[in-house]
Structures are given as structure tokens and as C-alpha cells.
Amino acid sequence: MWRYIGRKLFVYLLTFIVAVTINWMIPRFMPGDPVQSMLSRAQVSDPEALEAMTSYYENLFGLNAPLYEQYLNFWAGLLRGDLGISVMRYPEPVTDIILGAVPYTLALLLPAILLSWVVGNRFGAFAARSKILDNTVLPVGYILTATPYMWLALLLAWSLGIVAGIFPASGGYSFSLRPEFSWLFISDLISHWFLPFLSMFLVALGGWAIGMRNMIIYELEADYANYLQALGAPRKLIRRYAFRNAMLPQITGLAVQLGTIIAGSLLTEIVFNYPGLGSLILDSLNNRDFFLLQGVFLFVVVGVLIANFIIDIVYVLIDPRTRVQMTGGSS
């Protein structure tokens, strides 16, 4: 068991190093010079002052060093928790900006992922048992999964936000309020949170429900289910077994889906102008703020890796087959 976890940890560490390296490379080899764009915004016309400012900023961001040194500096900074200074919101450190955005993204992602997973699985398992429900739920599920996040998000923002006016369609909280721990602010926060959450929840829900329905039908046809039926076991027992066994691939699916869900949150956040990591990615791209971009990507990568690691461990705990393989038992 511990050897298995150790091996997994090693693989994840390797993935992390590669991800960080690629993450460092991409913005640096992208066209466009961040210092130039910053200076052009400052509209400095004096060539001498321009040169002085250029060298000042390049020194500040460490861009005048050779590439390998920049790379090593990046790692050194990373280990200290220092991801550099944002160009876009100079002189705020990248880490602070990210930490400000993370609660919004997590508050959006975690409930959407987990709730859609739980509800979708229950719903799919339920649909597999009745024909009428199956015939209605399935097409709806297919439509929901096939819907792009931002399209559904736009539709929701338009219908519930603008036409019906029930929920605000933009922002993390009203501009008239300041962040504080009061009932007014929290309820405002929730009403702003609801539409982005709903759009992510709905799109993910369809996929889980369809997957679960198919898995349940497959499991109910499995040999062990047939055997139990031949021995007169009640449907309840067989359903329980089938549900549990059908959950296993769904858990793997959850791990695989995490990456795409984060991409989905990016689009949703952009549509609703929600102040999470997704909006931050868009802003930093527009401003060629590659320190911030790096930081956000790094955060996403670490998030996906941690989530996958947790699911690896959970899988071992619930599926005896992986457990046996791991402990070297004969099969």
C-alpha cells in the first residue's frame, strides 16, 4: 500500500516538474513583449527615459538574465511561494492576486462538480429503472452534455438574469457593496454566485446521468446480477450491488473530468464576469501579464494533480481489485 502511494507520488512529482517547466516556457516564447506594452501604456516619449525605464523593469522582472537563469530563478521563487510581480496590476505580487481569486473559483467549482456528480449518478441510476423516465431523461441529458458551457451560461444570463431579472448576470458582488461579513453582502454574494453555478451544474449533470444510466444497465446484465436473480435475491439487493459497482468508473470519470471542468469554469467566469481564476486568465492574457498567467496555470495544475491523487487513493479503498493488484496478491 505505502509502496503504491510512494510510486504514485513520484509520478505526480514528475508530472508537476514537467508541467511547471512547460508553464514557464509557454509565455516566454509567446510573441509580444510585456515591458514594451506596459511602457506604451505609460506613453513615455523621451527615448532616454524609455531606455532607463525598460532596463529598470527588465531588471525588476528578471528578464535581462539569460534564459536558464530565469528558469532557475523561477523555481527558486516558486519554492519560496513567490511567483513574481504582476505586470497588469503592478506592483501587486502574483500570489496575492491569485489568492484573492481562488475562493471565488473554488466556491463555484466544488459545489458544481460534487453536486452534479452526486445528483447525476442518483438520477442516472434512477432513470435506468423505469422506461418512461429513461425515455425522457436521456434526451434531456444528451442535450445538456452537448451544450457548451458558455452557451448555456449566456442563455441563463439572458433569461434569468436580464429578462426575468431574478439573478444578477455579472460580477462577484454588487459594486455598491464592500466585502464584509454581513448578511446583506453574503446574500448578494450568493445571488451573484447562483447563475454561474447553475450553468456549470447543469452541463455536468447530463453527462454524469447518462454515464451512470449506461453503467447501471451494464451492471444489471452482469453475471453476478443474473446469478443473484436466479437465486431469487430481491431487486433491492441487486440494485445496490449494481450501483456500487457502477460508481467505480464514475469515480475515475470524475478524476478525468476535473481538467475539463476547470476549463469550463474559465468560460463560465468570463461570461458572468465572475472574479475567479478564469477571469484572471483572460485578463492576464489580454495584458500579456505572463507572471500572473504562469501563476494561475500553476495553481490549476496543482489543483488537478491533488484531486487526481485523492481519487487514486479513494479508488484503492473502494475497489478490492486494485487493492489486490497493488499488494501483489494472486488473481
Partner: protein, 316 residues
């Protein structure tokens, strides 16, 4: 008389029409009898076994009756069958290797199954352990997952589970087919032992391995294309088969000690007819060397000598 099957017809529903897998099957099974049920693939032997315990969704009961211990077995009524299953009629399935839930420890699965059937697991735990030891398993298997057992072990576990409530009739479907020869023998011997100890009253042993069934069964019934061809005591079927199909089937078996000098084994030329639109009359007539004009009528299954039935115009 334990089991009486009368003119049983079970068809498979397909998009192209009914496949007549069992087309009028009649036989009796006595108390304590182990009957080997033999035949080629697709002759209906598994269908017959399944029909007696649970029809799957494609199978349709078209006609005929089954009687067990004097009571009618309502095979077409799935709910009415539930009280009979496991307690009166039990099954060791063809797929015994995968018949156990892979994510439950075997002991826990058994307990859940027993509780669901209204039996207190504690009442039967001693018996369960005793029977596991009888088939040569450590009682520790109950604390293991199916994946931790070898194929032969799983087979024996399923055997013990299926017979735990002492059913009157046990249907053992190809239980030895996936095992190696030495395990086959051990399993076959345990089956006889179970009958001798009264764990099961009588048994239908579905197989295509006639030489194995000869060693353990009291009687052998041979099926061909959804019909019964011949039923007789095991020794009679092997030594003096009357029906041409049985004769050719036995002739196709290798004998211990035979050499190539005595000539190659003969197969049966041709293939069995499709059961979607089966030919009228004797279904074996196209492959039968002894076929004559009368074979276009279906030969009845008649008792040609006590305990020996055959369905052929030449024997009747």
C-alpha cells in the same frame, strides 16, 4: 417422482422471429437422480436448464408444464417463481467464475443473500463452513474477495452457495467446462457427494463432456436441435446407444488406450439445423445415415425398454 417436464416449449424472441430452442421436451427425473444432459452447442441444453429456474427477458414460455414434487412450477411468472428459487430449485451457472460480486467479500455477499431470502446467516454459518471444508476450501475464503480466488476455488464456492438451502433440484450448467481435468474430477466428485449427503435431492448436470458425465451421472439425456433424442441409464447410453445421433456422438469420443492404428475418430458430418425455421419431421434426418421416407414425420419419444427412451423411427 421429483421432476416431471411435459412438452415444454421455450422460444427465444428475435427480430427475425422465434428461435425454437426447446420444442416439446418431455422427461422425468427421479428422487436422487443425477441426470447428465448432453448435446452439441445450441441444442437447447442450457435453455432447458435456465427455463427451470429463470427465463431471461428474451425467453418466452410457449407451452408445456413443469412439476416439482407434485406442484406446478410457474416458470412464466417471474414473481411467483421467487419463493421456489434457491429453496427448491437452484442453479450453478455456466459463468460461475464471474458469478460473485467482485466488490464484496464472499462471506458478506452470502450473508446479504441469505438475509434477503429470509434466512438468518448465523443459523447456517456452521453448515456453510462444514460444506466449504467438504469441497476442500479453507473457511477463510469467506473473508476474501472473488479476485483473490482461483477459478476452481470460485467454482466450488458457487457450488456451496447454490446448494446451501438444500434445494430439491440443482441445475449445474457446464460447471466443469472451464476447469482443468484434475479439478473437473474433484468438482464432479463433490457434486455426487452433495447428492449422497442429501444436500440436493436430484440434479441436472448440463455438459458437452459425455465421458465426464458417464462417470458421475445415473442417467444421460441427449438433446439435438431442441428435441430430446434419447434418455437412458448412463451405461446404456455409452455402451448400447439406440438413436443414430447418440451412436455417432459416442463414436466421436476418443477411448482410453486407443491408438491411431485403429483409425481416425469419426465426426458427424454436417451441422445442426437452424432453429429459426426448423425442418419438419426428425431434425437429425439430414445428417442421419439411416434416414428413410418416414423421417419426414416427427418421431415420438417412446420407452423402448424400461428406463430407456428414444425418438427414432428405426428404434421404435
Amino acid at each position: 417422482m421429483t421432476l416431471r417436464v411435459n412438452d415444454l416449449k421455450v422460444y427465444y424472441q428475435t427480430l427475425r422471429g422465434d428461435v425454437r430452442a426447446l420444442d416439446g421436451v418431455t422427461f422425468d427425473l427421479a428422487d436422487g437422480e443425477i441426470m447428465g444432459l448432453a448435446g452439441e452447442s445450441g441444442c437447447g441444453k442450457t435453455t432447458l436448464g435456465k427455463s427451470m429456474i429463470r427465463l431471461d427477458s428474451r425467453m418466452r414460455h410457449v407451452g408445456g408444464t413443469i412439476e416439482l414434487n407434485g406442484k406446478d412450477v410457474p416458470i412464466a411468472d417471474d414473481d411467483a417463481m421467487v419463493p421456489l428459487r434457491y429453496r427448491e430449485i437452484s442453479l450453478i451457472p455456466q459463468y460461475a467464475m464471474s458469478a460473485l460480486n467482485p466488490t464484496r467479500k464472499i462471506g458478506r455477499m452470502v450473508n446479504e443473500l441469505l438475509r434477503a431470502r429470509g434466512v438468518r446467516p448465523a443459523d447456517i454459518a456452521d453448515e456453510l463452513n462444514r460444506r466449504l471444508e467438504l469441497v476442500g476450501l479453507d473457511t477463510d475464503v469467506l473473508n476474501r474477495f472473488p479476485i483473490e480466488l482461483s477459478g476452481g476455488m470460485k467454482q466450488r464456492v458457487v457450488m456451496v452457495i447454490s446448494t446451501l438451502l438444500d434445494p430439491s433440484l440443482l441445475i449445474a450448467d457446464e460447471v466443469t467446462s472451464a476447469l482443468d481435468v484434475s479439478t473437473q474430477r474433484a468438482v464432479a466428485e463433490s457434486m455426487v457427494e452433495f447428492r449422497d449427503r442429501g444436500y440436493v435431492k436430484s440434479m441436472i448436470f448440463v455438459t458437452h463432456d459425455i465421458s465426464l458425465v458417464y462417470q458421475m451421472a445415473d442417467t444421460i439425456m441427449v438433446m439435438y436441435a431442441g428435441h430430446i433424442v434419447e434418455k437412458a441409464p448412463a451405461a446404456t447410453i455409452i455402451n448400447e446407444p439406440k438413436h443414430p445421433y447418440t451412436q455417432m456422438l459416442i463414436g466421436a469420443l476418443p477411448e482410453v488406450g486407443s491408438t491411431m492404428v485403429q483409425g481416425r475418430l469419426e465426426g458427424i458430418p454436417g451441422t445442426p439445423p437452424g432453429l429459426l425455421n426448423p425442418p419438419t419431421g426428425c431434425r437429425f434426418k439430414d445428417r442421419c445415415p439411416m434416414a428413410f421416407s418416414k423421417c419426414s414425420e416427427q418421431p415420438p419419444l417412446v420407452e423402448i425398454e424400461p428406463g430407456h427412451w428414444a425418438a427414432c423411427w428405426k428404434t421404435g
